[in-house]
Structures are given as C-alpha cells and as structure tokens.
Amino acid sequence: MKERIIYWYLTNFKLISTVLNSPVIYDQERFSWMRVERFPLPPHFTPPATKFLLVLPGLANIENKHKFEFYLYKNIKRLDGKSIKHFYAEGFYNPFAHKGYARFSFHVDYWKPSLNPKQGTNLLDICQAFYNFLARK
C-alpha cells in the first residue's frame, strides 16, 4: 500500500512538472511537502512566476484535505498596488516566514483522491484551485 501511495505522489509530481513546465522538488522520505520551482502567477502579479511550496498530506493521511498548506516566495506583489488578501508574510500563522515564504490562507473545498492517479482529484487540481484563488481580483 505504501508503494502505491508513493507511486501516486510520483505520478502527480510528474504531471505537475509536465503541465507547469517546471522542476518539482519534493520530500522523498515522508512526502510531506513539494515545491514547484516556477509556479506561474496570474497576470496581475509580479514576478510572473515564483516558488510554490505545498505542504502535503504525507503517506498516512492522503485523503485529508485539511493537511494542505500553501506558501509562495514572499517577494510577490500585485501590479495594481493593492495588498494581497489572505497573505501572511510574517511569522504569525507562518512557520516558514524566516525561510522567505508567505502563507496563503486558502482551504481546499473538494478533495477525493484515488490510488489510481487517473481517477479522483489530484495534486494538479490543487495547483489549479490555488491559481484560481490567486486569480480572483
């Protein structure tokens, strides 16, 4: 079973890497996080792409949508000068602030994965949902 879950993660990483055309780095021991090196941002952000750290459910609790946490490299800005909503650049609520990451208070609504990577929701869906969240003006 553990092997199947690992296989599921690896297939997901490959999918994200291919679709987003970016290297993907991940925690090979516990599958507790992954990072997309060039995550594209919506047009009203600068820079156009940045590092995206996604805290993952890990091997034991893959079906728990509450486990996901979303962090972007914190030098991002909106081109229209407005502040970014649901954005925690400092340490309060953000354990990775001193590593340069800002946490986004974004929660996954729908998460029904399957061990078959071609069925159920997958990590690319999570990336897409997060992009859609950022794209809301």
Binding site: K2, P23, W33, E69, F96, S114
Partner: protein, 489 residues
C-alpha cells in the same frame, strides 16, 4: 493462538462459484492480507488463483495433485506481494469434512513451507460438494501442527454470515439469562451473538449503555477503549456509575460493572486512546465496530474498519441550544458496511473534525483564524437521548447480522419532532477509503491514521535548510506507458 478469516461477500461468492465440485475436485489458492496482534490473526482473502486443468498433475472425483510449477509460481507471487496463503479445495460429498489424506498431505506441505519461508501464515478451507458448508484449519507455527480456524466471517452488504469449524458446532449451551432473548431472536442468533467480537470505541454516554445492551443480549466478547476518567460532570449520563466511581477509567469501569451483572463475559478494557497504534491493531481484529466518539477519531475508526472488513456503526447525539432554547435535540447512526462503497470519508459529514489530524501548531492556527468553531467547548449531553441512540445503533447491528433487513446508511432521530428518518444506501465514487481499489480489505497494509506532532514543521524546515534533501524528480521514476496501463486496469 487464534486465527479467523474474513471475506468480502462478493469475493466469497466468486470463490464458491469457482470451487464448486463438478465431477472432479477443484483447488484454488487465496492470497490474503493480514492483521495481527498478540497471537491473534485475521486473514482477509484478496486474490483467488484457481488451478486450471493444466495445473494438476492428477485430478479425479476424490483426489488431486498439483504441479510443482503452479505451486511455486503462486508462492513466489505471495512472497512478492507480502500475502499469506489459504489453500481451498472441494469434496464430492456433503457436509464438508477433511479426510485423513487431507490432514497428512496438508500438514506435510505447510511444514515444508514453514521451514522455507518466514512470516507467512498458511490456512486451508474445504468446501462440501454443494459449496454450502465448509471446514477450515491453519498451521500453527508454534506447535507445528494443524489447528481449527476460530471462525470464518462473510461480510455481505445486507447480512453477515458466520461459519464455525465442524467441531465447534457441537458445543452449544445457553444460560437461563438468555431465555427471553432466545424467544425473540432464536437459539441460532444467540449462538452467533456469543461468537462475535464487538469493539466499542468510547465508553461514555453512548458507549456505556450500548455495552450493557450488548452484554445483556448475549454478546460475550467485547473490547472497550476509552482513555478518559469518570468526572462528576459525566454522572448525568454514565449508566451504572455513581459518585464513588469518580476518577476511575471509563473502559475499566464498564468492564467491572458488566462483569458484575452478567457471568462468563469476555470483556477487554483498554484505558488508552484509540490513536495509539497498539490500540488500533487490537480493534482491527474484531468483527464489528461501534464508534461512540465525537472526535476526529471517527475518521481513524472508519479507515481501520474498512481496511479490516469490520461493519461499522457510528453513533452520535447532539443538542443545539441558543439563548436557553432548544433548537435541536436528537442524533444519528451511520451504518458503514464494507463493500457498499460509501463511508464516513466520502459522505463528508465529519470533515470538520479532520483538523484534529493536523499538527498542534496548525490546529491552533485554524482555531485562531476562525476555521474551526466550538473546539474544546463542552457540548450539552443528556442520559435519555444517549440511551435512545445506543438502542437505535444496536438495532441497526442486529438487523444486519441476522439478515433481517439491510441497514440504512443513516438513521436520523429528531426528538423535538418525535421522528426517526432513514436514508437508503447511496454509492459514492472515488473514495480512497471504501472503494475496492483503495484501502478496502487491505488490512495492515493500510497506514494507521494518527494525528501528527509538531515535528512535521521542523522536518520540513530542516529539509528546506538543506535544499539537496529534497529530490528533483528524476526521469527514471516516471511511470512507463506499460505501468500506467496496468495501473488503470
């Protein structure tokens, strides 16, 4: 040492159809998943490998001999997939009974395998000609001899069938205490009750009355777990408990209380949290589980029950009071039957409790940011309501194990309106926990669901500190087209 075998209904029917005697004996291997704790073992058949005509070196109406190549191939597959083995064959007569030839040849073969292979359990089932009766034994590695299988359970969507090995059938005696229960359900039913292992998680307002109902009805084998001690504020609803019982552990209290009421009970009290791995491993071995908790543990219980083919009954009560006015008073019972492809995870009804599996920092953050409402606030609880929910849950289980009626997915009790409403079974799609291709029937191969500690952030920080500890996806791990095809099939 005790060993039981639990089948999913459709797997058992598939086996029965394939193994049915047809002019010649038939043989099959079952590759099984396993749960185990302290010399108690549960095997769950996962794959059926039926011997084809070409796999026999000789076969007749009363005899079979397998080719070594076939046996070697199956054993190799079992080793690769970390499975245990059950060998199954059919006989040309009714009822099912092993012959002396069976005893000698199976003992010799099992001894041979035991010497060659470590950590693989090996059992056997023989079916009668009509495939309606069976007998079973297993190889006990300690005595190096054959021992009767404790029981074989088949979990169907609408009922639960218990098979006992031949010699078990002879010893039946009933206490006078069960006289009126026998008049209600019959001798056979009360015998079944006494052979079933029931697990109760949570020994408080609902779990306590439920345990008493079970014990009085003839369920002798109970495992009760609860880490909490009795507080004065519990005494408004803890059946049997009084002031003198303050500070006693709830699970131990109920064991002692029930032992004082009914003779010859076999109750195990576990005064520990269900989140401890050794506790979950013990509950994996029971036949039926009741969840009587109002915490995120219901998700761990749901996963464990489905992985180990334990029908699960989730019981909860609730009272909503605003400005001293009762808006709602009632409760619900969910019946999660393995094989129905619907469970607590895909229903999503307890998703708000999933936050309890986050690490403590993340939990605190969710509460502070307002994503979790009412955490750690004591809920209103009353004795009469909990007793009603316990009784309704008990009746759902009785309907199921006696095959009286398929239990409804949900029973909803509204005390304000004096209504009990039921919802029928609905099949959901894509739930990892209850689907055949997910955790269902995978036993100890499914990781136990346990809350995280704060170490997780530190581990992520450590790995961010050293960029090289994260691994860039190498090309060689990309699934090949062939692997993808196999996976999807």
């Amino acid at each position: 040492m005790k060993l039981k075998i639990t089948f999913l209904g459709k797997k058992f029917e598939e086996l029965r159809e394939k193994i049915k005697f047809n002019e010649k004996e038939k043989f099959a291997f079952l590759l099984c998943n396993r749960s185990e704790f302290n010399s108690r073992i549960k095997l769950i058949p996962d794959k059926i490998i039926l011997a084809k005509n070409s796999d026999y070196s000789a076969v007749s109406a009363g005899f079979y001999q397998l080719k070594r190549t076939f046996v070697k191939k199956v054993i190799t597959q079992a080793l690769e997939e970390e499975k245990d083995i059950i060998q199954v064959h059919s006989h040309p007569f009714n009822p099912a009974k092993y012959s002396s030839v069976d005893r000698n040849s199976e003992l010799e073969f099992m001894n041979y395998l035991f010497e060659k292979i470590e950590n693989m359990y090996h059992a056997s089932i023989v079916f009668s000609k009509d495939a309606q009766t069976l007998d079973s034994w297993f190889f006990n590695p300690k005595t190096r001899n054959l021992q009767k299988t404790e029981k074989i359970l088949v979990v169907y969507p609408e009922k639960f069938v218990l098979y006992l090995p031949q010699e078990e059938k002879e010893n039946v005696s009933f206490s006078q205490i069960q006289d009126r229960t026998i008049r209600a359900f019959g001798k056979q039913a009360v015998k079944i009750f006494s052979k079933i292992d029931v697990g109760i998680i949570g020994a408080s307002g609902i779990g306590g009355p439920l345990a008493e109902i079970l014990a009085r009805t003839g369920f002798k084998n109970l495992i009760i777990c609860d880490p909490d001690k009795i507080e004065l504020s519990n005494l408004n609803r803890l059946q049997g408990a009084g002031i003198k019982d303050e500070n006693k552990n709830k699970a131990i209290f109920y064991k002692n209380y029930l032992d004082s009421l009914i003779p010859n009970l076999n109750i195990k009290a576990i005064p520990k949290s269900f989140f401890l791995p050794e506790v979950q491993m013990q509950f994996a071995l029971v036949d039926i589980i009741f969840s009587c908790v109002d915490s995120g543990a219901v998700h761990s219980i749901n996963r464990l029950a489905l992985a180990n083919l334990c029908p699960l009954f989730v019981l909860n009560s609730g009272i909503n009071v605003e400005n001293e006015k009762i808006n709602f008073i009632g409760g619900h019972i969910y019946s999660v039957i393995p094989g129905n492809n619907v469970c607590i995870n895909c229903l999503g009804v307890f998703d708000h409790l999933l936050y309890q599996f986050l690490n403590p920092s993340a939990q605190q953050r969710e509460i502070q940011q307002g994503y979790v409402q009412g955490a750690n606030l004591p809920e209103p609880q009353v004795y009469f309501l909990n007793s009603i929910i316990a009784s309704l849950g008990f009746w759902q289980m009785i309907k199921y194990i006696l095959g009286i009626k398929q239990p409804e997915l949900k029973i909803y009790y509204n005390a304000l309106q004096n209504k009990i409403v039921s919802s029928e079974i609905e099949e959901t799609k894509g739930c990892l926990v209850c689907k055949d291709s997910g955790f269902l029937a995978q036993a100890n191969k499914v990781p136990l669901l346990i809350p995280e500690t704060n170490q997780i952030y530190q581990k992520i920080l450590n790995s961010l500190e050293n960029e090289n500890s994260g691994i860039i996806l190498p090309k060689e791990i990309i699934p090949t087209q062939k692997e993808q095809k196999n996976e999807s099939s």
